[in-house]
């Protein structure tokens, strides 16, 4: 009896030590089990303001997808439901790396969707190649992260750096009076520096002179020195390339310093900024990847998911990038016709997948071609799409009276 108890205890301790879970014995590619999609979400930490409702959104996505049975898999000759394995990466790249390793080795997920942010897009993808698990990242927008020769990586950021402000600069080319000078203020982050680098060159090409660029650390609270220089330079356009939360103090101090310009543009104008800064961002322009009401593939499905999970596109502007990674992966599985990592990889390679904001087409690196609309914050916190003209929901006020 004693030795039996000892044996049972040893087995229990062994499995606990191995991080035992039901998924340990999940069979990859089984038609009888749900398709396991492994992901991490920045539910806590600095990026949580952009993503703290995405767990619910992801669960609702699976529920809605599974209502019709899930994803049709030809080799199973039936629809197979999907199931997400979700962890909080705490906005920390090292945590994300260990969680994806765990999902590959302990949870035995079939495929990866996510993570977000270029800071995670550096260290996490090599794991996908190591375990040969296709990974459709979400909001990883820096092109150079796709240049590393990794074979199992794709991404669905909306917008991508080379198309981030495409429509805004198109708009600047058509406004009257035309801006002649631009000043860039950049958050010290790979994707934000990428945006400034790319669009400052485009501005020069378009005849708008770049009269200054400043970079600030994410925890900067006092912007007096930077703004004193901007004020003295008197630019026509002040372009802020920053994640929303780190720019709150900057935006408040821009108003206090009475900066004047034809327009102040924020590459990440969002509801989060509005909630924290309030009417100080009145008249400012920004980018929005998509918004409910714009018709396209899956638009009703996505609107439904957003509504049921309480996610407002303007508050969580990167939600489309997230959902697009799920949509892309499920379409790729269907196209592959099997829950097979190699076949799904082949389906994703240089593929084109449907989304509410148009087709996502990958180049040979797995980098997409996604763009964005230009919006303006108008009276009382109302967000109005002002460019392109055919998609506009309101008229652009130019030059923005609130910055005069």
């Amino acid at each position: 009896m004693k030795s039996y108890t000892k044996l049972v205890s040893t087995i229990v301790v062994f499995f606990l030590g191995m991080g035992f879970s039901l998924n340990t014995f999940a069979k990859i590619g089984s038609c009888n089990d749900p398709i396991l999609l492994g992901t991490t979400i920045s539910e806590t930490g600095p990026f949580s303001t952009l993503a703290d409702r995405w767990r619910k959104m992801t669960e609702v996505f699976a529920e809605e997808m599974n209502k019709s049975g899930g994803v049709f898999v030809k080799s199973c000759n039936k629809k197979v439901p999907i199931k997400f394995v979700i962890y909080d990466d705490q906005s920390v790249p090292a945590t994300a790396v260990s969680l994806y390793e765990k999902m590959a080795t302990v949870d035995n997920v079939d495929f990866f969707v996510g993570p977000d942010w270029s800071s995670m897009g550096g260290p996490v993808p090599p794991l996908a190649d190591k375990h040969q698990i296709p990974m459709v990242m979400a909001n990883v927008a820096s092109p150079n992260l796709y240049d590393r020769g990794l074979k199992y990586i794709w991404g669905t950021p909306f917008p991508v750096v080379p198309r981030w402000s495409e429509r805004y600069f198109e708009m600047l080319g058509s406004v009257d009076p035309k801006p002649k000078t631009i000043y860039f203020i950049t958050h010290d982050n790979p994707v934000m520096k990428g945006i400034t680098g790319y669009w400052s060159k485009k501005a020069e090409d378009q005849g708008i002179k770049v009269i200054g660029t400043e970079t600030f650390a994410p925890d900067t609270k006092d912007f007096t020195a930077m703004l004193a220089k901007v004020r003295a330079a008197k630019p026509d356009i002040l372009y802020i390339s920053s994640f929303d939360a780190p720019s709150v103090a900057l935006l408040q101090q821009i108003r206090k310093m009475k900066i004047k310009a034809m327009d102040v543009h924020h590459a990440m104008l969002s509801g989060t900024v509005y909630k924290q800064v309030g009417d100080d961002i009145q008249g400012m322009t920004g980018e929005l990847p998509w918004y409910p009401g714009v018709k396209g593939d899956y638009s009703e499905f996505v609107e439904n998911v957003l509504a049921k999970s309480g996610v407002n596109m303007f508050d969580y502007i990167f939600s489309l990038g997230r959902i697009a990674s799920y949509l892309t992966m499920t379409q790729a599985i269907e196209r592959a016709g099997a829950i097979d990592r190699e076949l799904v990889k082949n389906a994703l390679y240089k593929g084109s997948f449907k989304s509410p904001a148009g087709n996502i087409t990958f180049d040979e690196r797995g980098f997409p071609n996604n763009g964005a609309f230009t919006v303006q914050m108008q009276q009382g916190g109302k967000v109005v799409v002002v460019w392109p003209k055919e998609a506009a929901t309101g008229k652009l006020i130019w030059p923005s009276p609130s910055w005069q």
């Binding site: 949580s48 303001t49 900067t220 609270k221 007096t224 004193a228 004020r231 310093m257």
Partner: protein, 291 residues
Amino acid sequence: MISIEVLAQVVLGGILIGGLYALVAFGLSLIYGVVRILNFSHGTLLAVGGVLASTLYATWGVSLSLMTLLLTPIFFAYGYLFFKYLLEPLSKKNHFESTVGTVLVTVGALLIMSDLTAKFAGPAQKNINIQFDTFEISGVIVSTTQIIILLGIIFLTLALHYLLKLTWFGRAVKAVTQDPLGAKLCGINSGKIKATTFAFGSATVFLASILYALSFPVDPYIGFGLTVKAFTIIILGGIGNLPGALLAGIFIGVAEGLTGLFWKPEWAPALSVILLLIILIIFPQGFQKSK
């Protein structure tokens, strides 16, 4: 070419943020001087106070004077109890256990306070967004908020300075700082003075948090960076020397501003540590006169 207006603007901004750094350092300086404990959670108390004050203001419109009256005693009580029940028992251990124990307790408090604040108030930045008027003097923008904060810093510095100089409590604090055994022989209850000083430091940092949140956003995780700045200030200014701390705070604030102006703004946050290293090599006693 940098104009004189731009330079003046940067110096004014540096004085303001430096004064706020000094206010954070005051409490830490007193606590270290009397209790000899490096309280790593000191700056986090400012973060908690700032988030609390901003939430009270934004959600219920609680006035600054009312929240000062209501919350200062609560922070005082928190400091007293924190010392009495978590730190004082460690002083009875041997030197090694006591040192490691206080680091673990204060760092643990830092992590717990940050996460609890994020859990209840959200991780996003907040501030007391009162739109005061701004005006221009010879090309330099000055806001009424800045003037209020500067007056607040001057008032608190003087009040603390005279409190320590003229009251029995202040003299007892000095006595315990300079000669704990002698103070005990004179009938001073050093345990009580230490607990009260810890509480006093906590209440001071709450007052600083209101002034801080009036000008800059706070979030649950800004505390540790502020604690490091406060450590730098008390080393430069001298332990227990409030005017020295104010001077050191302003020095760091202005130096950060000038770094942003003449070099790169992203280097400004690291400047306090670099300055600390350089000045300690040249002036090992800090700004205090050598004895």
